[in-house]
Amino acid sequence: MNDHPASPNPHEFTNLDRRSFLKTGLGGALFLGTVSVTAGLSGCATQPAGRLSAVGTRMDASYQFRFLTRDDITLFEALLPAIIGPGLPEQPQARNIAIAGTIERIDAGIHKFGPANQKELRRLFDLLNFGLTRITVARVWPSWPNVTTAEADAFLERWRTSGIGLFNNGYIALTKISNVAFYGYRDFWHLSGYPGPPQHAVDALPQFKNA
């Protein structure tokens, strides 16, 4: 019983020997594959979210999502306050715009990742979105819209410090795509003290003339 990964009882899961669970990449991959199928069957949103209405989602209604599902968007809305932390603006509207824009850039980035890496990310996101595995594997009890920043941070910290490579890998995947999409965007360059491309070059080069 104690070595069953799908055990719903939180106390039992705590006793689980985590090193024996998902120890190998192969086992992990197979397990994540199963989650994807299960998630699909159980009604998780599995289609790219497409164009969302601005009112309901705070997103730029002109952006067409090509990879992230509505569930994934909710996931990142919960995680970004922990991943970016105090880098996000405090003013509510600016904060919402920063989060929404970062999620759009995450989607645009993943679109260019190609099918193989998209498949890996789909497994990761499904694992996090699917209630049973969100609780047993990520040990996040509330559903994502109800997760506090502290809880999201604790989840990231667990995966960062875990002795299981698969969780470390999940941590890197989530933080890397979020950090790049956030800190790499011109609106947030000031946070890293990056002044942008040298102005004398921008002024002199033809490719900036028509912009």
């Binding site: 990742f113 490579g165 790499g184 360059w189 003290g193």
Partner: protein, 529 residues
């Protein structure tokens, strides 16, 4: 835009360039030679063959980007110019792979470091792989020729602070250091080599050999993926290729058939074995995709008291080979020390972390300095390299197990990098490792490095140098091609890229690829002429 850009000018003048995305019907074309890949190897090959009067078709899966597209922006450049939108990793996800995917291949986005193949490497190949004809003396004229073609010379300007700190640290500790030769002409010293040179200073394939080939009637197809070489008895009859839409990644379903007398594969150390595996090219000794090397790279960052502005200035201008061959060619693993440029997207993706800690890491960017160590893999029995194989969808993937031998080299490299950074005056140093903190003294850093678990995923590893997988050698039982890049089993197939290297190089590989491709293309032109 005025027509001062070499590519814009060429397109205007009627170069034969076909964008796969623009094709609406299936197509068949024929030439003397089809060259697959437009990077260091493919560009060189295409120019030399085209100049010798042969008709040449060039095939590139990435798109044609040039000056108008190079706007010093990380997000668009990583998405468009790199393999898998900069998300390529080894099979287990533990090593990030930086590799170009555009016309010019990695030479369009590399940091311009231009080294000859180290002599100990060439001699090792002669002794272990029967490649006597590639001894340093025999290769020297080919290196000279390519140094001239690509305007390679030791960097004349002062190094930027980022690189100068490596110099200062080495100087203090009595370690050797040297100035890096770069392939640039009229360089503005901006610091944006990795996102496509905005000033056309970089003399990579995009602005040298590709235009040279196109001026000589070569036909370039870009946004076209080489799917399969189709054999007829013991020869390759044609290449089957698929076009991508203008996003560069969505297949349009349009099929292109390319026929030729001879085929040159130059699709990189991951792409070339991948293509040959997909094509079921004869491989009687199971060598395809084996012995793949990557110069595994680990890194350390330092917080300096002075401004570093690591995003500006020639990205690489100083290196140290103090530890590269110090234990002999095949002793404990050696490593070359260099410096990477640090822009915000790259840094935030490479430095592991989140939340307030990551914000603090990033806030220090103007004072941040980094050293990288490139391990010279493949020269020792405990460094047999990785394996390229195919995923279910036919795409190639590299499996690269890090052996204890390499882990011990990576730990040594962490020690060296921290030592150099503190010697150069670092206030604190952090290793690129999930468990690393910032350390404010060398003693503290050394104690931590001795304890840090050296495990996949926890140590952040990178590579920008993919080599091997179609290794050359005189004996078909342990190699794929001979010393001229000619396939051992298939008469009209050559391989002209970094996949033929039987070990890693021990230096940034672009000049090694240029030189070997030039030598082997000259021979091929004679054979076919």
């Amino acid at each position: 835009m005025s027509l001062t850009d070499r590519i814009a000018q060429g397109l205007e003048s009627g170069w034969k360039v076909t964008d796969g995305a623009s094709l609406t019907d299936n197509l068949t074309a024929e030439a003397d030679v089809v060259v697959i890949g437009t990077g260091a190897g493919g560009g060189t090959t295409a120019e030399i063959l085209a100049k010798s009067g042969l008709s040449v078709i060039l095939v590139e899966e990435g798109r044609l980007y040039y000056q108008k597209d190079f706007k010093m922006d990380e997000l668009t450049s990583y998405a468009n110019l790199y393999q898998e939108g900069m998300s390529r990793v080894t099979r287990d996800g533990a090593i990030a792979i930086l590799q170009g995917r555009c016309v010019g291949g990695s030479t369009t986005v590399n940091w311009t470091s231009s080294f000859r193949t180290p002599e100990p490497t060439l001699n090792y190949w002669a002794e272990h792989f029967g490649l006597e004809a590639l001894r340093p003396d025999a290769m020297a004229p080919w290196f000279e020729g390519r140094e001239e073609r690509h305007s390679m010379a030791p960097w004349q300007m002062d190094p930027n602070v980022n690189n100068d700190i490596l110099r200062q640290g080495c100087e203090k500790l009595g370690y050797s250091w040297h100035i890096i030769p770069r392939n640039v002409k009229g360089c503005w010293n901006l610091g944006y080599c990795g996102v496509g040179c905005p000033t056309n200073a970089k003399q990579g394939a995009l602005l040298t050999t590709i235009p040279g080939a196109l001026d000589n009637n070569a036909h370039l197809f870009h946004s076209l993926r080489a799917d399969r070489l189709v054999m007829n008895q013991d020869r390759i009859d044609h290449l089957q290729a698929t076009a991508f839409a203008s996003d560069g990644i969505t297949p349009t379903g349009i099929q292109v058939t390319l026929k030729a007398r001879h085929f040159v594969v130059a699709a990189s150390a991951i792409g070339s074995p991948g293509l040959l595996l997909r094509s079921d090219i004869p491989d009687p000794y199971g060598r395809l995709g084996k012995r793949s090397f990557i110069h595994p790279v680990n890194a350390s960052v330092a917080q300096m008291p002075q401004r570093v502005d690591p995003f500006y200035g020639a990205p690489q201008s100083i290196y140290s080979d103090e530890f590269n061959f110090r234990n002999g060619v095949d002793g404990p693993v050696g490593y070359k020390l260099e410096v990477p440029p640090l822009h915000p997207a790259m840094s935030s993706g490479v430095i592991p972390g989140h939340g307030e800690a990551q914000l603090n890491n990033m806030a220090g960017l103007p004072h941040m300095q980094s050293v990288i160590a490139l391990l010279r893999d493949g020269f020792h029995p405990e460094s047999p390299g990785g394996t390229v194989s195919l995923r279910d969808d036919g795409s190639p993937v590299l499996d690269y197990p890090v052996t204890d031998y390499l882990w011990s080299g990576l730990r040594n490299a962490f020690h060296t990098m921290a030592e150099i950074q503190f010697a150069a005056g670092a206030e604190k140093v952090r290793l690129m490792h999930l468990d690393s903190d910032w350390y404010s003294s060398l003693a503290e850093a050394k104690a931590a490095i001795n304890k840090l678990p050296m495990e996949p995923h926890r140590v952040r590893l990178f590579t920008a140098h993919q080599m091997g997988g179609c290794g050359m050698g005189s004996n078909p039982q342990n190699s794929v091609v001979n010393g001229f890049g000619e396939h051992h089993q298939v008469g009209n197939l050559s391989i002209h890229d970094a996949s033929v290297f039987p070990t890693s190089i021990g230096a940034n590989p672009q000049l090694s690829v240029y030189a070997l491709a030039a030598r082997n293309s000259a021979r091929l032109a004679q054979r076919l002429g």
